[in-house]
Symmetry: C2
């Protein structure tokens, strides 16, 4: 699959609420996931670990709604803009997330995902 | 200046219509500019060449309005979302541009800029 094919499929899956499932489908075995934070959790490497992070996130949040824009493609990379209305289960806080998700594709798999937040 | 400082300044300058000026202020001498296209113009390297590309763009388009969102920061990178209402002077065509602009900062300068388009 081309970068555009994967980008289009991710957008389709996200619009259907399949955020975690899209990762499972496309993460490379040695995928790198980069958060916009400092510290040891900034970079998570490997499909098993990234899958764990994704499952943690899904279990820790209730998603009330999401708005997906894109994909925006350039070469082997693409950006999807994701706005989410969520409740953080532990605190009960309602939050409006606004993030840019940058993906790098190699050999038909997601080699890197990097999340940029508005602030 | 930190990555966030530069990101915030670019957003401020863009909101004031200073697109080209923001590049002149922050491009590194060996800046790389990457367009979402194939062919020899995909990558332009060096401040002089990137400045030339930017001046060409500014002269070839009439900007009627722009909407700037961000910055979205992650480590030494940030994304700005730019929507522009322009007329291509040569053809007279009115176009609504929607792009994600990804910047990589090194030593307080823009080391790379990469433009992702919606399609």
């Amino acid at each position: 699959m081309s970068t555009r094919d994967i980008a289009d499929d991710l957008v389709t899956m996200w619009k259907a609420g399949q955020f975690h499932e899209s990762g499972v489908k496309y993460w490379a075995e040695d995928v790198v996931s980069v958060e916009a934070m400092e510290g040891p959790m900034r970079t998570v490497t490997g499909k098993t670990a990234v899958n764990g992070k994704s499952e943690w996130w899904a279990n820790a949040h209730e998603v009330h709604g999401a708005e997906v824009e894109g994909p925006y493609v350039n070469g082997d990379q693409f950006v999807i803009r994701l706005k989410m209305d969520v409740t953080v289960k532990e605190s009960g806080a309602r939050r409006q997330l606004d993030e840019m998700c940058l993906y790098t594709v190699k050999s038909g798999k997601i080699a890197e995902e990097s999340f940029f937040y508005d602030s």
